[in-house]
Amino acid sequence: MRKKGEGVMKFAQILATVMFMVVVFVSPVLAAKDTVKIGALLAVTGPASFLGAPEARSLEMLVEGINKKGGLKGKQIELIIKDTGASTEKAVSFAKQLIEEEKVLAIIGPSTSGETMGIKKIAEEGKTILLSCAAAEAIVNPVGKYVFKTPQKDSDAVIKILEQIKKMKLSKIGILSSNSGFGNAGKGQIEKLAAERGITIVSNEVYDKAASDLTGEVTKVKASGAETIINWSIEPAQAIVIKNARQIGFTGPIFQSHGFGNIKYVEAAGAAAEGVMFPAGRLLVVDTLPKNHPQKTVLANYKKDYETKFKPDAASTFGGHAFDAMLILQKGIEKANSLDKEAVRTAIEGLQGIVGTAGIFNFSATDHNGLTIDAFEMLTVKNGKFVALDQPEAKKAAPKKK
């Protein structure tokens, strides 16, 4: 500590360098004239990057396609993607920036329920269309005038799982959920809906979303006499849960939320993922869908485009949510034949029969999600692949897990 001043200078230099790097890494926004600005708040990095990264890629892909075809109403789309890192604080400040400074027509995202709930009010006050890619039912219930969402409702996912549990004649469940907005919302839905169906919750544990091992938690659930485990999280921890549960000898069926719909989790969990059941959109089983299924073309095209462009990344339902959001916005603009926020908003509210990756959307003034429980299919993991639970024979020829 000889020269204090020198140290401070060096310190300032280093700080400046670090800050410069941070600025460089945040994707630069190119300004263009006479464009229609669309903002996106996505968790491209951080604990929910499983959602945000494929969402951002899908959006870029779709926007590129629309721009090549001449854009929206003759104007090129300027897509402004902000990486929230799944932090609500960042989502809030970016949302304000997009609405007040960039004056975007609409915001796609955020990726997570917690972030969406954090900016719902901001979108309402800023009179900017928000097309959330997050699951929680609370996003559209109560309905916010400007707030829509494209993924299926978490309450429908819970109902789908509970119906399956009843069908399997089980009655004692253990709930595990992460301490994130998604985990919390799902846990609340299960607590609310289980009792109506005569299902008892014998254990209900919350774990840290960054947890690295959950042996203790699953031991507690197993000791409580649970016949089946429902885990509700979007983080890698959901793959750790099933692995630890099997290791300590839990043999009952394990259910996951629709957040499990990413083949990387299955790869990471290996043999432990076998037999795990979860509700999800049909994207993951598009190959086994009958040819005449209304969603077949949309799903097959999205999957093909995404997987050719972003090889070796596999298409996930999450990227599909952002795809749907952009699709709905596009249809809304076409229907309104205007780029006026108010006109587009009204047009979206009246959209019917839009075939997206998550399901078939029928919006109304009271339904800003537009999907029914039928948008979900119960899936399971067989030989390291996703298959529909009701037609496990269809994919018998599936290659063995490598």
Binding site: I14, T45, S212, G216, Q247
Partner: protein, 294 residues
């Protein structure tokens, strides 16, 4: 009773993960007196590199290569960012290492993307477990405990009985005096970075099947590793292992007694209490700590 043992096993699993990171903290602290906040990133780099390499070579070779590569990265980091600093203050070193950890993390994101990766279990699969009288233990836990014990023993021998180890300790005790005795202190610091990078990388490979590794795993692991290093008394690797086991088992029992959500509250509360009551750590020596130069 079985349940009790099952919780202890869970605690040991947590503890081993923390211990591996804490040992890395201690090595650099021992030679340089600084805390390397990029230590968690070494763990991440090891796990991720091994995952990529295992496509091209058998797993043990991939792990060895990953350790060597991370070691080289550790050396490069020291040579590029640390070596030219003349008598850096503690605060400055903290900022530099935090900056480095961000840099490594972002680079890893660009190289590997945001996905989680896991090495295969060294023995068996993700569902294999050994049943010891009703207690189920994953074989990977044995690997983790075994390898970290060997690492601790080897480190003990290295620091106490080899010339290089003694030189490194001399650097930590008094850098000026060490230099007057003809020890190249700068090389010792480089070497300590290499050593802790190697141990971090090896740790990353061992825990990867248990915890999964993604580009951002480093900082989470570093927090727990740091807690444990402080708890045991900075600079003492054996104490760090003991502290890691204590913390792991306490966390595990906290799940049993309290809602699981309070697990981290327990560990952070313990760290705060230790910092207030016995800042030198559970096994640390206050007088020895005071002798360190800052």
């Amino acid at each position: 009773m079985e349940l009790l043992l099952q919780y202890i096993v869970a605690g040991i699993t947590y503890g081993t993960i923390y211990a591996i990171v804490a040992i890395g903290f201690n090595i650099i602290y021992n030679t340089t007196g600084i805390i390397n906040f990029a230590q968690g990133e070494f763990v991440m780099l090891g796990g991720m590199t091994a995952f990529t390499l295992k496509e091209y070579m058998p797993l043990p070779v991939a792990i060895i290569c990953a350790v060597v590569i991370t070691m080289i990265i550790g050396a490069l980091i020291e040579i590029v960012f640390i070596r030219w600093l003349h008598k850096p203050s503690v605060l400055r070193m903290i900022i530099i290492t935090i900056g480095l950890s961000i840099l490594i993390r972002e680079t890893a994101l660009h190289i590997w993307g945001e996905g989680v990766t896991a090495l295969p279990y060294f023995t068996g699969t993700s569902v294999t477990s050994v049943n010891l009288g009703g207690v189920f233990i994953s074989p990977q836990v044995f690997w983790a405990v075994g390898i970290s014990s060997i690492v601790v023993i080897l480190l003990g021998i290295f620091f106490n009985f080899t010339l290089l180890g003694k030189q490194m300790r001399a650097c930590s005790a008094n850098r000026e005096a060490a230099r007057l005795c003809g020890i190249s202190t700068q090389n010792m610091v480089t070497f300590s970075f290499m050593l802790s990078a190697a141990i971090g990388a090896l740790g990353g490979c061992i825990v990867s099947p248990i915890t999964y590794i993604s580009y951002d795993s480093g900082s989470q692991l570093a927090i727990k590793g740091f807690t444990v290093a402080i708890l045991g008394g900075l600079g003492n690797s054996t104490a760090a292992v003991a502290a890691a086991m204590i913390l792991g088992i306490l966390e595990s029992f906290s799940i049993w007694a309290l809602p699981a959500a309070y697990k981290d509250v327990v560990s952070i509360a313990i760290m705060l209490i230790i910092l207030f009551v016995k800042p030198s750590g559970l096994f640390g020596n206050a007088a020895a700590a005071r002798l360190k130069e800052y």
